[in-house]
């Protein structure tokens, strides 16, 4: 790390920090224990090249891979009131928040962006599990509402990548109230007839699963992601028996009819492009490396592109 990483704002920071020599060139897969070369790992979107284990990926890394050329514009999220309950456990909530902001370089647990994915205009939001367990508080609620409003304004579909331990206890009832609040956002999209696609990543649990993360038009999960309302430990304590292997994992939910698909992270982008273009009544996507932007006008039937100019 050099001086610039400490003094430059996070967004600029992320451009530079890529060129940094990582302190450790090797990452150990937490599933199979294989040592993975960092570049190889990040090229594979943090999926273990040996066992296909999907490791944590930050919203920014995900967006870099998702949007064409890694280009996206962040959508501004209205800041909620800080520490509404003056919550204090062993630490003060503002202190917990500050340390999470420092370690992740993000404002809160959700990043919202707009851009093009396979030439398909979208709005996307991604939850950050490394930020206080991705927990849903007022900021996350505001982010989803802002994303939905932006999508409606631009007549674009919304893709949401979920990852959270649940509601943010430090915001008490106001975190719980994000369940109805985010559901209003989903209903607004529904009314505007815009696709809302949820990609559930490891782990998505609690109040998050019981609201916006389960209300998508299409529900996709990453392999082996834990998706549940009550966590396995709570259930084991309640029913006092061991739970079967793979319980509440993505494949298990798929088997039980709770998901449309379980899709490998590296195949996700193409799949999302394909699904969205069909739902939006657009022409088939162009596979592989995209040619230079097509400048022939009018003949294109791409709905959002034309609607943007009107």
């Amino acid at each position: 790390m050099n001086w610039i990483t400490n003094y430059v704002r996070p967004r600029i920071n992320s451009i530079f920090s890529k060129r940094d020599m990582p302190e450790n060139l090797w990452t150990k897969c937490d599933e199979c224990g294989t040592m993975l070369f960092h570049r190889e790992l990040s090229d594979n979107l943090n999926v273990c090249t040996n066992c296909d284990h999907h490791m944590v990926i930050t919203p920014r890394e995900r967006f870099n891979a998702l949007f064409d050329g890694g280009i996206f514009t962040e959508v501004e999220v209205p800041k909620p009131i800080a520490d509404p309950l003056q919550f204090r456990d062993q630490k003060r909530y503002p202190d917990r928040l500050k340390s999470a902001q420092k370690s992740t370089g993000e404002t809160d647990a959700m990043l919202v962006a707009e851009g093009e994915m396979g030439r398909t205009p979208i709005v996307a939001c991604a939850q950050d599990f490394s930020f206080m367990g991705g927990s849903m508080g007022m900021y996350v609620g505001n982010a989803i509402i802002a994303a939905a409003e932006r999508a409606i304004k631009l007549k674009r579909p919304l893709i949401l990548f979920s990852a959270a331990g649940g509601a943010r206890m430090q915001e008490g009832i106001l975190s719980l109230m994000q369940m109805p609040r985010t559901t209003v956002a989903v209903n607004l999209l529904k009314e505007a007839n815009l696709p809302y696609i949820v990609v559930l990543t490891h782990p998505t649990t609690g109040g998050v699963t019981a609201s916006y993360a389960m209300l998508g038009d299409v529900q996709i999960a990453e392999p082996n992601a834990l998706i549940c309302f009550a966590g396995p430990r709570v259930i084991e304590q309640t029913i006092r028996e061991k739970l079967p292997e793979g319980f509440q994992r993505a494949e298990y939910l798929l088997d039980h009819g709770m998901l449309d698909r379980v899709t490998h992270r590296t195949a996700l982008r193409d799949e999302l492009v394909s699904i969205l273009r069909m739902l939006m009544g657009m022409e088939p996507p162009i596979k592989g490396d995209l040619p230079a932007p097509d400048l022939t006008p009018a003949s294109s039937k791409d709905v959002p592109e034309t609607s943007e100019t009107t």
Binding site: P80, I81, D83, P84, L85, Q86, F87, R88, D89, Q90, M138, I145, A167, M169, E171, G172, I173, L174, S175, L176, M177, M179, P180, R181, T183, V184, V186, N187, G206, G207, T209, A210, S211, Y212, A213, M214, L215, I227, C228, F229, A230, V234, I235, T238, I239, L243, F247, Q248, H256, G257, M258
Partner: protein, 319 residues
């Protein structure tokens, strides 16, 4: 009478008075009435003192008191022609959730609520008020019916939370809760909700997302139980008193935060000490809340409900 731990001194005094009277019944020459009356007075003063300012944790205890009136009591006393409607048309009928058609002051309505049960047998039957997906799906079905036929919906919330079980998860507990909350936000008829005891997390939100939410004076509504919060944040479930304090889960705090629209006063010593008066007070509150929505049209209702939730929490406790 079940006494809570902080009511122990009260239990002693009331017990003594009771004993005296029992003695007197066996022996007609003894005159204990004056002494018993003095004890009664002492008990009354103590009760007043105890309930004057309950700590949040004590409120949790009162909210969970087994002798409080439950959903069934309210339905029996406040509604006529109650016709329970069962089943989610998919899998089962959930006995933790009761609901159906009824009349409230002669007006046809749909009433839905969590029932906890009041003895071991009925508690097990009602699964302690912890609903499974079928319960939420039944509620969705009933709300749809209310919407089609223009009947107001009244929900009575009293649940420790949604049931954390294997089958419940298999059948999509989270999806069922999400759909129920979504339905609450979509129906074009008035939705009035009263928290009569415990409003436990997502299991409560699924019914309590309403045009107006009333809470009984000693009821609670929280994102997590104080015990659960203490075991996660303090790593010690025994610190629930501090957690209850920090979570701001009392009706009084929730009113300040704009989550609760109306507090319904309870009799001295809590709802469990005078069920009839509590039920009557809830009836009056429901009546008053329903009146507010008498001539609202569908679109306005839905828009106002949405706005209520979108605006919620903008000011924090300072509101």
């Amino acid at each position: 009478m079940n006494y809570l731990d902080f009511e122990k001194p009260l239990a002693e005094i009331e017990g003594k008075a009771e004993e005296l009277r029992a003695l007197a019944r066996g022996n007609t020459e003894m005159d204990v009435e004056a002494e018993a009356k003095a004890l009664d007075k002492k008990a009354q003063d103590l009760l007043k003192d105890l309930y004057k300012s309950l700590t949040p944790w004590r409120k949790c205890q009162v909210a969970r008191h087994p002798d409080r009136p439950h959903c069934r009591d309210y339905i029996n006393a406040l509604f006529t022609e109650y016709t329970p409607l069962a089943g989610d048309r998919n899998f089962a009928d959930d006995h933790a959730v009761m609901g159906g058609l009824a009349r409230f002051n002669d007006q046809p309505v749909v009433v839905i609520g969590h029932e906890k049960g009041n003895d071991t047998k009925s508690r097990i039957e009602h699964n302690f008020g912890m609903a499974r997906p079928e319960g939420y799906r039944k509620a969705v079905r009933l709300m749809d019916m209310a919407d089609r036929f223009g009947l107001p919906v009244i929900t009575l919330v009293d649940t420790p939370g949604a049931y954390p079980g294997k089958g419940a998860e298999e059948r999509g507990q989270s999806e069922a809760i999400a759909r129920s909350t979504q339905k609450c936000l979509e129906i074009g008829v008035p939705l009035i909700s009263v928290i009569i005891g415990e409003g436990g997390s997502g299991g409560a939100v699924a019914f309590a997302t309403a045009d107006q939410l009333a809470m009984l004076e000693h009821s609670i509504y929280s994102v997590i139980s104080p015990e659960g919060c203490a075991s996660i944040l303090w790593k010690d479930a025994e610190r629930m008193r501090e957690a209850a304090e920090a979570l701001r889960l009392t009706a009084q705090d929730l009113e300040k935060l704009g989550v609760c629209d109306r507090i319904i006063p309870e009799p001295m010593g809590g709802a469990q000490r005078d069920k009839a008066a509590t039920i009557a007070a809830v009836g009056q509150a429901i009546d008053a809340m329903l009146r507010k929505h008498k001539d609202m049209d569908r679109k306005k209702l839905i828009a106002a409900r949405r706005k209520k939730y979108l605006d919620l929490g903008a000011k924090g406790l300072a509101a």
